[in-house]
Amino acid sequence: MASDNLPSEFDVVILGTGLTESIIASACSRVGQKVLHIDRRNYYSSKWAGFNFNSLLSWIEEYKSQQGSQSTEDEAEWRKTLEDGEEVLPLSADDSFITNLEVSCYASLEAEEEVKENEEATETLSPAAPSPTEPEEETKGKGEGESSPDVTQETTTSGETQHTQEDGGCGVQEEGASQDAGQSEEIEQKEQQEDTTAGPPSSAKEVKKKKITYADLVKEGRRFNIDLVSKLIYSRGSLVDLLIQSKVSRYTEFKIVTRILTYRQGRVEQVPCSRADVFASKQLTMVEKRMLMKFLTFCLDFEQHPEEYQEVSDQPFWEFLQTKKLTENLQHFVLHSIAMVTKETCTEDGLKATQHFLRCLGRYGNTPFLFPLYGLGEIPQCFCRMSAVFGGIYCLRHSVQCLVVDKETNGCKAVIDTQGQRISCSHFVVEDSFVRQRWKNTEEGHISRAVLITDRSVLPADSDQQISLLTAPPLEPGGPAVHVVELCSSSMTCMPGTFLVHLTCSSKGTAREDLESLIAQMFYVPPSPGEELAEGDERSGRPTVMWAMYFNMLDISRMDGSNGFDLPSNVHVCTGPDVNLGCDYSVKLAEKIFRQLLPEEEFCPPAPDPEDIIYEGVAPQGEGSGFEENPKTEGSPLQSEADGLENHPESEKEAAEVEAPIQETPKEALKEDASPSEE
């Protein structure tokens, strides 16, 4: 690996590559700070990471093997570097933030015809393959109650099943590696045919469709990008603003969420939210359409009509909706799918939430949300790239074992990395999981998550390339409201012919306890891998779950900033992600921490546009990134309205500046470049 040693002096050392840490890294590098950004893991994005299917299986294995292992470091060498008046503050060696991890496979374990016949022969293959049925229960009791033996029917499927499964997966994996991907092309083509024959999925087509087996999932594992965190991006939220303003948006592309759905009385329904939706809706009566439009129009600028709500502004929004003469149907849509609040939320907050939703509509598409191609895990990496472009030093598989604290000032002077090297810094920014033991409060929140791979959409439509947000109100009073994001293959997060479904809610119990009953209602979960439904079963229209993962994620986002931690004042803790659908919490926290670090500096000013940096001998090109694309057809880079109108400075003018050596400090370079290009 790297033979190079890390430099030993930085302005800011950042541990953890989640969204908040990465934004801070890019903001600091951008204004000329020397930044060292490291992560103990061998992948980017920390809690926000996305994995392909195979990497996810290895990650799960690693997670299991890590349980209870503690690393013991030899401290002798670096101890010598300590001076008088310095003391050492160790960081947590255990940075795990996942509990109650359970994985179950329901896809057929028959790999392919040949393999099925050869089952005996494949028996000998390496047992090192991840065993997908094995449940994982964290033993470090997090107050969720002892992980009960509810290890469920499918996870306790006899050793035999599990065995075949390993073999199946393994056999095909090897085959896939040595063979040409003939089979995959086949699937693909079928998929494309389906794409082009736009029309409601007929049962005849279903029959033609090749059944996807577990082996297929493994073989096509690269096509999955499974995020640990499931969020969407509000098109007028702080993340979009930041991406555009900082120009980090140039590193990635987005898809528009195409549908807002809800689950009501045992059925999945589409929620009409834009004006066009409302009028096109077949489920609403004319009267309802008018009522809904009238109400939504009021919400858009509700502040202008205080008489309408002021008296009841702290009463529940739910009651307010009832006074607005909305039908029950509409009340449900507004409360759960548009405002996305609970029945207890007060009217003013409910109105604000509705307004925010409505304001985000139409900026990029028919729903308020965007989703990054390849998954949310890309976003922190984009900020890391920006930081690196401005001189930030990046090192994965590298961590900090302790902080060196000045006893007198109680400030952190340096960190000792996992190689025992002392690295001085003025500020240390850290992901919350590394400093959990310094947290004063003992009460921890959790997020319950489930990830499913399914074979069809919860609401099949003309095109199967839909990205949907479904909000499911609590199934029983006091239960969690769940948000469900269903991703299609063109979002680059799952293989053709499958859907990736993320479920998220605030934990009441373990993830399985919180989400299992909703999943059982909306999907068909085969009692044993590959088992098909009998003719005429009431569940026959539902998507079949092929693979499922449950886990809880630590959420101490209520403790924003460092106040809740017993740490030196120049140590800044990045808490989160929170359970909310948007990313705003993490973006705002990053800005807040940046302001503490560098109160005088601008937060993420625009990076100079490479299009403006044109060198001698090259005729100036037309402005614009050339990425502009009709948002409806494909993933599209963000482009603010302002951006579209803006004229980039003429290139000749720029050329002289760029000729100058780039060796000057980044700070100066930035000031020169950045100011003229953005207006």
Binding site: T196, G391, S489, M495, G622, F627
Partner: protein, 203 residues
């Protein structure tokens, strides 16, 4: 939207060990410069050069690693949507050649299946310090079905050729793709970048 003054836009991404001359190759090609002893490039994200091939204007967007290769920490997102990869090693540094399989693993993991990869042995001006004989590299490239080229960013040997050859290959692929669009189009969920799609639509 402004009308763009080019027929094709391709994203080309450089990878390879630190110090093999990736940035020098890019600057030689885009600026005609060879900055000796150049440190890390700060603030420059990618460079652009428009070339003309058989009467068609091809805009090349060339991305450098931003130093993240130094500790083997390149972000996956860097590989996404690249149309071509230039995998570079230094012919005077055995080590940089031995790391190639590691780089290929990364490519396999994160890059688009249809990415065009070219292997480049740089620094041929330092012939007397050569540690990797040409034949070895050619054989290696062959086993991985990559193109192979030796260059000198310093002497400007083969640098132009490198990028022009790539551009030709990319155009050839793009045309092929438009021709038999239905049969051979990029896999859903993994397709070419938007830039690619938009340039196709111009034809």
């Amino acid at each position: 939207m402004s009308t763009e003054d080019y027929d094709y836009l391709f994203k080309i991404v450089l990878i390879g060990n630190a110090g093999v001359g990736k940035t020098c190759l890019v600057r030689r090609f885009t600026q005609g410069l060879f900055p000796p002893g150049q440190g890390a490039t700060i603030g420059v994200d990618f460079m652009i050069k428009t070339v003309e091939i058989k009467g068609e204007k091809v805009k090349l967007q060339i991305w450098d690693t931003a130093g993240q290769e130094r500790f083997r920490s390149i972000t996956q997102s860097y590989y996404r949507s690249a149309n071509a990869l230039i995998l570079t090693y230094d012919i005077t540094c055995e080590d940089s050649f031995c790391c190639l399989p590691e780089w290929l693993r990364e490519i396999e993991q994160y890059a688009n299946n249809q990415v065009v990869t070219i292997l480049v042995g740089n620094k041929i001006d330092l012939a007397d310090k050569r540690e990797v004989v040409r034949q070895r590299a050619e054989e290696f490239a062959d086993t991985q079905s990559m193109l192979y080229l030796e260059t000198s960013a310093k002497e400007s040997d083969n640098v132009e050729k490198l990028f022009l050859d790539l551009a030709c290959e990319l155009i050839r692929e793009a045309k092929q793709n438009t021709l038999d669009n239905s049969e051979n189009s990029p896999m859903p969920g993994e397709g070419k970048s938007i830039s690619y799609l938009s340039c196709c639509s111009l034809n």
